[in-house]
Subunit: 119 residues, 2 copies
Amino acid sequence: MRFDPASLAYDDKGLIPAIAQDAATGEVLMMAWMNREAVEATLETGRVTYWSRSRQSFWIKGETSGHVQRLVDFRYDCDSDCILVTVDQTGPACHTNRRSCFYRAVRDGETVELMAPMG
Amino acid sequence: MRFDPASLAYDDKGLIPAIAQDAATGEVLMMAWMNREAVEATLETGRVTYWSRSRQSFWIKGETSGHVQRLVDFRYDCDSDCILVTVDQTGPACHTNRRSCFYRAVRDGETVELMAPMG
């Protein structure tokens, strides 16, 4: 069946959460938001493109940092209200220079850091 | 540093997205929402607990279906506005009886199904 980006369930701001997972290792790298146009751009260009809520503009991941996300597979969930992209990630995905944004864990009630910024 | 569930960045509805990942295989199983009380319950009980937006009530995953998510690790991201729980998932995570909610992919513009319901 032909996929229609308009068929996804966007929220009242026109956005849908998108999880980025390393296609090779399975590591969850980050979560950000797309709108319909970002979904279309991601599928058309193979460069993962988000909508930046803070800047209110398109955010072609890696465009300024060089930390590009090349799309490997584009998936969506049962309710069509969440996207999972598996990606080939160049360098760190996180703006703190860590490989993943999920670098903190809660263990025995304490926050612990799981990884250091990349060199 | 002591973790305070109130320190997470909840949205204007008091919710934060939570991604569930199979701790053993790395498979991304689902995404749902938590509020502060669901975060506290998840950490205190070791049973992953969401806030159901449709039912407007707590949703202890597997309470009715038996498809329990036992918490393995609780992580959160750089902006403190997304949670990643790694879990020990009993049976399917998806209400369609599939292991993962992300069972559809877009390939060459077509939607393809990646997995069948569990037997």
